[in-house]
Symmetry: C2
Subunit: 403 residues, 2 copies
């Protein structure tokens, strides 16, 4: 490997925000400040859009205070984009890179971002413009390959756990059926995380449905009925991506049903549709009383003031390591390896090839889902709990002996 | 006033939960433990249901640790009920009171609970069974009369502020129109609280709609369009109880529209309907891109691990004062008086008659709503900010000078 070039660097944030994607950004900035090989460090505004248009800010000018405030803030401080760059788009980006002498490219994002970094790196090779391209993982969905887990997931998992700890107490307060629809179209990690706060045998969520396990309406209603009969109440969490026995998502079936029935102003494609549909089924088919549904929405990834300490530390560390790797290697994605668990939770970082991460997704492993396909296993709890950085404890008095 | 009788006491929690209703409960317990006049302290399970059926637990047996855990937990540790007791129901309750020698009644709840306490107290007088009935205010809606503000509101306001601080950063990250529907059918305090976290001129929410100000669809769309043109994005919060220019709530209009159009499985009465409808209007009428909607739901009142320190302290204090008042007086509701604001925020508690609080609700005062009817005033911020116990700061880099 040739020596690291003396040149400028760019860092950008892509895809949906997380609570710690800014911690990774700050990790890149603070490490870049240590390496004289990196002259200017540009922050690209709105990811590939800013890279293609040359819309940059100077990240070496930021004060230490600003950096700490950015690291503590959710969402992408530089903005993001949903653009999927084609070859021409990437060529424009490389033109900007060349003009600005940008030879380091740090891209914080999911598997699409790893792919973009990979493509730009290869295209640069083709035109003999040597750049070093590194991907820094982030996603609330936790669905990237190679890495043990993704920065961003730990905080989102903490949010889900705290939300369901509260929601279960709410359901104890005024019993009935409560259905919560959770982010995650393809991977169920985030929905599974709703079970992390369970402290007592009868705590909810009592049923947890992930996209990895199809569930028919009959099975779903049977499960709810059985919990209702046992506890007199039932708290359910379901991924937005749960599918019917035939593998088609319920969201898709709903949208199709509505297209057929549509009458101008009625539309069921919005965010609340799946939750409302499931609640309607429980009401009409089981005759259950007090059925409520919530769709958690964007709060899951953006709530201000809520971070997992472990998550934010690791995210920042990933940013720093990307810069360190770039001093030695041509390209790569930063990945996390778990060295110890529980009280001995410990990780180390390593570099993996961009192609190992690009475009691929990881579903929940089988050992994290119970045999019934309606709950999580202890193995999942052991896996995910350390990432939350710890959860609050709650107490209620409903199970105390009566006098 | 006669001396306080030596007898048993009951405490119960009614209505929807809040994050600090348990702090009020613990306040009652710790103060009751100091007064030998109160022999046993019963906790009634599920409010009037437990009182009518004699379903009690012994609150004097709880350890100090348990009390602190309960005080830190959201929702009603004793459970609640939506039953509205009629005269016969109240008579059954009084029978239980008499049988158990319960002469003190502490009821934590909203205006309905104040009314129940009032009715039971009067009915007890009628049968010459002297009881002392006290109401301890709680509601996330902040809509009780007499008191400056209600325990429960401060934490819910903090939740809304943190949610919108994050949501606004999310909307900066991926610009578009975001619409959030907030709890509050009749009073807009909670929706107004979404504006508490605004730090910069262009921070969202850019538009805030409360039930106290009707808004036509034309006005709403015009407002959104104007913000979009100025900022290229728009974050909107709206109470679930917002109404059209004719005073009819949008939720009601929607539900009626759907009853007409209904085709079996299509139902728009769920929680996501209003948000999805507003988003649909913005999409179809303004042609706006990336329009998203969330309905915050029960998280607003139950999220575990999130409390305003000020709120939790005042809630506990209200519980303690109710017991102190009961040593001197026949009945009453605990109310909060503000003595200083801002950095000098300070309150004292006082007793008011149950009839002053029972059944009545307080809307947002005019001076808290801007002239346009689409935002809050500085007076509201000054009023509500201290109740949150302080908010996190956030930072983003989108407005930094480009290079």
């Amino acid at each position: 490997m040739a020596d690291a070039p003396r040149a400028n660097a760019v860092v950008a944030q892509s895809g949906g925000p997380t609570a710690v994607i800014n911690a990774s950004l700050v990790g890149v900035i603070e490490e870049a400040n240590k390496h004289p090989e990196i002259e200017d460090l540009y922050g690209a505004l709105h990811a590939v859009v800013g890279m293609a248009k040359g819309q940059f800010i100077d990240l070496k000018k930021l004060s230490a205070d600003t950096l700490e405030q950015v690291a503590a803030s959710p969402c992408s401080a530089l903005g993001s984009s949903r653009d999927k760059p084609d070859e021409e788009y990437c060529a424009r980006i490389l033109e900007v890179f060349r003009k600005r002498n940008i030879r380091y490219f740090f891209y914080i994002g999911g598997n699409d971002s790893a792919n973009t970094a990979h493509i730009i790196n290869r295209m640069a090779d083709d035109i003999d413009f040597d750049i070093r391209a590194f991907h820094i993982p982030k996603t609330v969905d936790n669905d990237l390959l190679v890495t043990d887990h993704c920065p961003g997931f730990g905080t989102a998992a903490k949010f889900e756990a705290c939300a369901l700890m509260g929601d279960d107490l709410d359901n104890r307060t005024l019993p009935g059926v409560k259905i919560d629809v959770i982010m995650g179209r393809h991977a169920g990690f985030l929905t599974a995380a709703t079970a992390l706060g369970k402290q007592r045998d009868d705590d909810g969520p009592h049923l947890v449905y992930v996209p990895e396990r199809p569930v028919s309406m009959d099975k779903f209603l049977g499960d709810v009925d059985s919990v209702l009969k046992k506890l007199g109440r039932c708290v359910v969490t379901a991924s937005e991506g749960i599918c019917d026995a035939d593998g088609v998502t319920w969201a898709k079936k709903l949208a199709e049903g509505v297209e057929t029935d549509a009458h101008g102003n009625v539309q069921l494609s919005g965010t609340g549709a799946l939750a409302d549909f499931l609640a309607g089924q429980v009401k009409s088919k089981l005759g259950a009383k007090r059925v409520r549904a919530d769709t958690f929405g964007y709060l899951q990834r953006s709530f201000a003031g809520l971070q997992s300490e472990v998550d934010v530390r690791e995210a920042r560390w990933c940013g720093r390591h990307a810069v360190q790797y770039a001093m030695e290697e041509d390209s790569g994605s930063v990945a996390i390896k778990r060295l110890g668990n529980g009280a001995d939770y410990k990780v180390e970082l390593f570099r993996t090839d961009l192609s190992n991460v690009a475009e691929k997704t990881k579903p929940m492993p089988d050992e994290f889902i119970n045999a019934e396909g309606n709950g999580v296993t202890d193995a999942f709890i052991e896996y995910a709990m350390p990432l939350t950085g710890g959860l609050p404890k709650t107490e209620h008095l409903g199970n105390y002996p009566r006098i």
